[in-house]
Amino acid sequence: MANENSNTKLLSVATAGFWKQNPVLRLVLGMCPTLAVTTAGFDALTMGLCVVFVLVCSNTVTSIIRRQLKPHVRIMMFVLTIAAFVTIADLFLQAFVPRMSEKLGPYVPLIIVNCIIIARAEACASKNGIVVSIVDALSMGFGFTVTICLLASIRELLAAGTVFGLRLMPDSYVPMTAMSMPVGAFVALGLLLATANLISAKEA
């Protein structure tokens, strides 16, 4: 009985990040990288995978030390952990994927202040065991990745006629340059959020 309950709980945690508690569309967190790196599909994918890596590592560490956390220093602890893993991810990109690292620029170190990661450390990892924390991290991380890749695909398709480098629009397509500029980012994200609101209102 206890096994069944914990399995269903695990499953609900695993799927939460994709829709019910989608960090971008429902919790409205982590807006900064969502707007900044979604000009092209591969940029968004790289950012998403970095966030997954940092989330998993930071949730694991936070979960391991959760019983030792003193109230005054917990935020500093979260921030320190996240900063360390983000630096490692940044160094990895600079060493092995330098062109992507240049395109993403300062937005990789800015994962440190990405609200999603601190929120998950506070809400989940500091209160649950390692397995639940890791599952939560994977769920939120991949939910975030899928969402920003979706936004990036839309923007890339309209602005350049390609999705992840695959040419989809006919050659006669006149690119909508506005989509690759800030105005396109804000408007596309706003409309995506509105669509999510519409869908969840219909569900209710």
């Binding site: 490692i88 600079q94 060493a95 092995f96 330098p98 690759s180």
Partner: protein, 206 residues
């Protein structure tokens, strides 16, 4: 005093210990990957120099940087590269930067061995509008600089882009970006040339 130190440690031993451990982890990671990161930077510069100097084999960065002044104030500096093939100097390249439409534009400008004609330029980084200012990276604009005289370039709005002279035809719809590149090159070209002459590296003869 001892009590407050004890209290400090009791409250924050975890923070201090973790700071130490993470510091160690970062130091190890950095030591492992820093050489690769440095090599990536060199490779990138070399690839850009190769695109300008198709006949160049060795690229050597000169140790001294040249100061670019506006009046008496230093506004920037330029790194110079010597391009050689089999010991023979094929040309020179120097970095240049300035403001474009959106943000800074950074260029590497190539000139021939006598600093008389340009070999072309490459964009190191820019934030120009895609489809408009971004076309400074494209062939229509860049090819006009190949063979152009290494002094006093003019931006013109219409004309023959294939004519090899000091008139550079602007990109339609991207006048600011086109003007910016020409101004940056003009601003840096003279200073770098003077500095090279005064160092005796090239002759000042016409």
């Amino acid at each position: 005093m001892v009590n407050s130190v004890k209290l400090f440690f009791r409250e924050s031993w975890l923070l201090v210990a973790c700071a130490f451990l993470f510091g160690l982890l970062l130091a190890v990671t950095d030591a492992a990957w820093a050489p690769k990161i440095a090599q990536n930077k060199i490779d990138k510069t070399n690839a850009m120099l190769q695109s300008i100097f198709t006949d160049g084999h060795e690229f050597e960065k000169l140790p001294e940087k040249i100061d670019i002044l506006s009046g008496k104030v230093k506004t920037g500096e330029s790194t110079v590269y010597k391009v050689t093939t089999d010991g023979r100097i094929v040309g020179w390249a120097f970095t240049a930067e300035g403001f474009g439409f959106a943000d800074k534009i950074q260029l590497i400008v190539g000139v021939d061995a006598a600093f008389k004609k340009m070999r072309g330029f490459a964009v190191v980084s820019s934030y120009e509008t895609p489809g408009f200012g971004d076309r400074i990276k494209g062939d229509f604009y860049r090819n006009q600089f190949v063979g152009a005289p290494a002094a006093n370039l003019n931006l013109v709005k219409g004309g023959d882009p294939s004519a090899i002279d000091s008139d550079i035809v602007a990109i339609t719809g991207a006048t600011v970006s086109s003007t910016a590149v020409v101004n940056i090159i003009n601003r840096y070209m003279d200073t770098v040339k003077q500095a090279m002459v005064s160092k005796g590296v090239i002759s000042s003869g016409q």
